[in-house]
Symmetry: C2
Subunit: 247 residues, 2 copies
C-alpha cells in the first residue's frame, strides 16, 4: 500500500468513518484537535507524529481547509502525498496547489459517501479523484487501492466534478433541507416515493448544517442549481394555477 | 368474494393494473370507452354488461367522476357496491353519496400504488378505505379481501386521508414534478440519495400530468402543503445567503 501508513487529519463524523474503513486495508493513524474516541483499528497520535506519515488525508470542513493547509505546509516530510476529502474540488485543489511545498504530491479526492449512505457497505459507491500534482504511477496505485475497497473510482477535472456535484449531491441536499424544514412526518399511508423522500431527509440532515452550507457556498455552480430549482418550482406552480383557473 | 364478479370501469394506466391484480383473486370484467387491450385474466365487456356486475370499481380520473357517476346512477342493479379509486377522498365520496341511488353501497378507496410502485409486488402497500354507505359486515369482508392481497388496509375518514395525503403523496409528486422540470440527468458520481431522488422523479412522472394536477386541485389541503413547501424553500435559501454574507 503505497509505502506505509496513512495519517487522517480530523476525526469529525466523516473522518472517523473513513479512518475506520481505511484501517481495514492499511495502517492508519489519526489526529484530532478535539479529544475523540479512536475508530476501530486506528491509533490516535499527536499532530506532530501525524505529520510524519508519508500519506496525509485531510478530513476537515471546506471552510477550515485554508487554516489547516497553512498550519501544516512547513511541517510535511519530503515526498509526502496530501489528499483532501472536500465535497467540492475546485477550491481545495487550487488552495493546496498554491500552498503546499513543491515536493508534495497532491491528490484531490471526494469520497461520495459517509456514515449514513455507507453504513451497510461502501461497495459500488463513487470515489472521485482529481489529480493535481501526482505522477501517473502513484496515481494508478491509488486508483487500484480505492478500487480494492470496491469503490467506483472516477477520475475527473475539479470543475467538471463541481458542476456535476451541484446538480446531483447539491440538489439532493438542498431538497433534503427544504423538506426537513417542512417537518414531514412518517405516515401509515405514505406511498413508496414518500418513504424515499423521508430517507433523503434523514440522510442529508444527519450531516451538520455547516457541511451543507459549505457545500453550497464553495461550489461555484450552486447558484445556477438554485436558480434552476427555483425556476422549476415556479414553473410547476404556474402550470397548476393555470389549470385551477379552468372552468 | 362478496358474492360475484367485479366490474372495472375505466382501463387507463391504473385501471388496467388494478384489474389485472384483482383478477388473480376474483372474476373481473372491464369496460373502457377507448379500445384497450384486455389485462391478463380480465374480460372486456360493453358498458351495459359491466353495469350488471354487483360490484363496480370506478378507475377514472377525479375530474371525470362527476360525469361518470351521473352517467351510471340510474343504470345500477339493486344492492350494487360502488367503489371509487381516486387519490383524494373528500370530493368523490361526497359526490357518490349525493348522486348514487339509496340502495347502493358506497365505499371510497385509495389504492396507494400503481404500475410503477407496484411493479414487483403490492404486498405491504397502503390501501385506504373510506366507508360512506356500507354496513359493518360487508365492510369487514372487503377489509379481508384486500388484506388477502397482502395490502396494508387502513380505514380512515375522507378528510383525514386528504390532509395526510397532501403531506405525503402530494408533496412527493410536487417535488418529483419540480425536479423533472430541472431535467436532472443520471450521473456516474450521483450519491445514493440522488439515485433515490431520480427514482422519485421517474415514478411520479410516469403518471400523466392530469393525474398530478387533479390530485393537487381536488385536495383541499394542497394549498397549505404548497405554502409550507414554498416557505421552507425560502427559509433554507435565506439561511444560506446569511452564511454567504459572512466575512
Amino acid at each position: 500500500m503505497s509505502g506505509g501508513e496513512i495519517g487522517i487529519y480530523g476525526l469529525g463524523r466523516f473522518g472517523s468513518f473513513w479512518a475506520e474503513r481505511l484501517a481495514r486495508r492499511a495502517t492508519v493513524k489519526a489526529f484530532s484537535r478535539r479529544s475523540r474516541a479512536a475508530p476501530a483499528g486506528v491509533e490516535l497520535v499527536s499532530e506532530e507524529r501525524l505529520l510524519e506519515c508519508p500519506v496525509l488525508i485531510l478530513c476537515v470542513a471546506i471552510s477550515a481547509m485554508e487554516q489547516v493547509v497553512g498550519r501544516i505546509r512547513d511541517r510535511l516530510p519530503a515526498g509526502v502525498t496530501v489528499m483532501d476529502t472536500c465535497s467540492v474540488k475546485g477550491y481545495p485543489t487550487r488552495l493546496m496547489d498554491r500552498t503546499l511545498p513543491a515536493g508534495a504530491r497532491i491528490l484531490g479526492t471526494h469520497p461520495m459517501f459517509g456514515p449514513d449512505s455507507g453504513r451497510e457497505t461502501i461497495a459500488g459507491l463513487p470515489m472521485v479523484l482529481c489529480p493535481v500534482r501526482i505522477e501517473p504511477a502513484p496515481l494508478a496505485r491509488w486508483e487500484r487501492f480505492f478500487a480494492e475497497l470496491e469503490l467506483n473510482v472516477v477520475v475527473m477535472e475539479p470543475d467538471a466534478h463541481d458542476r456535476e456535484a451541484a446538480f446531483t449531491q447539491g440538489v439532493t441536499h438542498y431538497v433534503g433541507r427544504v423538506l426537513a424544514e417542512m417537518r414531514l412526518r412518517e405516515s401509515t399511508i405514505g406511498p413508496l416515493g414518500f418513504q424515499r423522500l423521508l430517507s433523503i431527509v434523514e440522510q442529508t440532515c444527519n450531516d451538520p448544517w455547516q457541511l451543507f452550507a459549505d457545500l453550497q457556498r464553495f461550489n461555484p455552480h450552486t447558484m445556477e442549481m438554485r436558480a434552476g430549482l427555483e425556476a422549476a418550482f415556479r414553473g410547476v406552480s404556474a402550470r397548476l394555477d393555470d389549470v385551477r383557473d379552468d372552468p
